[in-house]
């Protein structure tokens, strides 16, 4: 081959390579991109739609002239028949149920998480984790009847029939606690698991026992992650509907006694919307005001938990 011939070949391949750099139309790729965008858009639009409906109907409620915003957020009596729309009658029982649920789920969930992450053998883990997942997968209606037909009789056998009413917030709260327990334990376990092994080594190297290491080093290092788990669980408990609808009571009542029946916000919404409501009645609008309130509460909690989780991530990255 002569010199000039080989130079020409190089020039030719270079030209071919240049044309190869042109943008290509990748149809499959563009299609998938569009599809993913569509999915994202749908979820955002749905959320916007919910906010819009909640907002619109709530606005009708507050502009109806029957109730002021102040009466709504400060009143403790909820009696639509006589025009009383005090949210505290429902909010109080929601908060009580949630508090009881957390009293059950937080200590137990944390204990399970610490056990799973620091103590459990591979074998124990491989048994306990699926059990927890099953617990999380039980339909809430089953939990509801579990509260009504097991937890309430159980409480009655301890405290007496005259003290514990058939419908009560205690039984519902305890069972919601069991419902969110897998959530608390699995999120907390993730947080504990994310704590670098080097910190455990440091603690052991100083002569710490297993318990000292778990409680005084690993748990504090995972504080933010565990806190996020708690917040998500609270938000889940506030929104839980079926269990309270079945077991907590079917009538608003402003009481601090967990053994008395009291309807929660979610429970009230299901009961009212289950009946035959006319669409432009004040009752109908009122459930959207309650819904908006629930939405704001859980949204706030979720925003807080996002910040908490972010903080936790920053600490180790």
């Amino acid at each position: 081959m002569t010199v000039s011939a080989s130079t020409r070949t190089i020039a030719k391949t270079a030209a071919a390579a240049k044309s190869d750099l042109h943008k290509r139309l990748r149809l499959g790729e563009s299609f998938i991109e569009a599809f993913l965008f569509f999915c994202g858009a749908v979820s955002i639009l749905t959320t916007l739609g919910i906010v819009f409906v909640l907002g619109k109907e709530s606005l009708l409620f507050f502009t109806s002239g029957e109730v002021t915003l102040w009466e709504f957020i400060s009143g403790t009596e909820w009696q639509p028949a006589i025009g009383r729309f005090g949210i505290w009658a429902l909010l109080n029982s929601t908060l009580m149920v949630t508090a009881i649920a957390m009293l059950v789920a937080l200590p137990l969930g944390l204990a399970v998480a610490i056990y799973l992450s620091e103590y459990a053998s591979l074998r124990a883990r491989s048994i306990l984790k699926p059990v927890l997942e099953v617990l999380a997968g039980v339909p809430t209606v089953v939990y509801g009847y579990f509260a009504l037909t097991f937890m309430t009789p159980f409480l009655r056998s301890i405290f007496g029939d005259e003290i514990v009413q058939i419908y009560n917030t205690a039984a519902a709260g305890i069972v919601i606690g069991i419902l969110v327990l897998p959530l608390v334990s699995s999120m907390s376990e993730d947080a504990l698991h994310a704590v670098p092994y080097a910190l455990r080594e440091a603690a052991y190297g100083l002569g710490a026992t297993k318990l000292e290491t778990a409680i005084k080093v690993v748990l504090p290092a995972a504080t933010y992650g565990v806190a996020a788990a708690f917040i998500v669980a609270i938000s889940r408990a506030i929104g839980e509907t079926m269990i309270v609808a079945i077991a907590a009571g079917a009538g608003p009542s402003f009481t601090f006694n967990p053994f008395e029946s009291a309807e929660t916000m979610t429970g009230h919404i299901v009961r009212i919307s289950g009946g035959d409501l006319s669409y432009d009645s004040i009752d109908y609008n009122s459930i959207f005001a309650i819904g908006l309130m629930l939405f704001v509460m859980t949204l706030t909690l979720n925003i807080i938990s996002r910040h908490v989780v972010k903080h936790f991530r920053e600490e180790y990255e």
Partner: protein, 260 residues
């Protein structure tokens, strides 16, 4: 070897270390002199860390790890069935490869180990003393309540040293304590070690031969056996002699950089 006059702290006899069925260290005998710095050198994977971690039973944390032979600490075998590893680690402290301060305040980092060891005296004093011994006091005395994670890498490692000496151990084990640090921070730690050795027995693993030559009194050279990939002790002696007139050809190859 004479243990009664306190000259030797550790005496390893016929040590074999296993991970599962893999023998990582074989047939090692080694004595560690009190209030001296002993360096373990050798190529990576030859079992230096494994041997080091038998001195405070850190290997116990790895489920597959197993040890045969004896690790005598003042004549008592640390692997006797009735020896509590937690108690062992209270007397034999450890500094790790990567600085690993707790995500707690500088003060808490130092106080933590002493506190769980039941220290009842003046904690402020102990913290100050430990930080001074770790040559860190002047840099942190105004920010004791700030997080230990906010310090530079070299400072973090000195904080870890302060944390290790706060419970007043007898021995300090260091596993490549400078490998994550820049040269200036490394020199600081080396100076610090020369100070600490007046009161503590120090055993350091290092892949850095210059470091071993600079700081240690004794050097142990480990190498992996070609046939079964088990680490073994090739040569052990006064650092100066190991580096100037090694007896074993393999040691000479390693320290002159002809290893490979």
């Amino acid at each position: 070897m004479n243990y009664t006059n306190g000259k030797y702290v550790f005496d390893i006899q016929n040590l074999n270390c296993y991970y599962g069925s893999f023998r990582a260290v074989k047939d090692t005998d080694l004595s560690i002199e009190s209030k001296k710095i002993t360096a373990f050198i050798g190529p990576s994977g030859c079992g230096k860390s494994t041997v080091l971690r038998t001195f405070n039973r850190m290997n116990d944390l790895i489920p597959s790890a197993r040890v045969t032979g004896e690790v005598l600490f003042h004549g008592q075998n640390l692997y006797d069935p009735d020896v509590d590893p937690v108690e062992v680690r209270r007397r034999i402290g450890m500094v790790f490869q990567k600085p690993n301060p707790f995500p707690k305040s500088i003060y808490e980092n130092v106080a933590w180990g002493a506190r769980i060891n039941g220290f009842k005296g003046n904690m402020d004093e102990l913290v100050e003393q430990s930080l001074r011994q770790a040559a860190l006091w002047d840099e942190v005395k105004d920010k004791l309540d700030q997080s230990g994670l906010g310090l530079s890498g070299g400072q973090q490692q000195r904080l870890c040293i302060a944390r290790t000496i706060a419970p007043r151990p007898e021995v300090i084990l260091m596993d490549e304590p400078c490998s994550a640090l820049d040269p200036i921070a490394t020199l600081k730690i080396e100076d610090l070690m020369r100070q600490l050795v007046k009161n503590y027995t120090i055993i350091i693993v290092t892949h850095n031969m210059q470091q071993a030559a600079r700081v240690s009194d004794y050097t142990a050279y480990f190498l992996m056996d070609r046939d079964d990939r088990a680490g073994l002790l090739i040569e052990y002696g006064v650092t100066n002699e190991i580096f100037t007139k090694p007896k074993d050809q393999r040691t000479e190859d390693y320290i002159t950089g002809r290893f490979g």
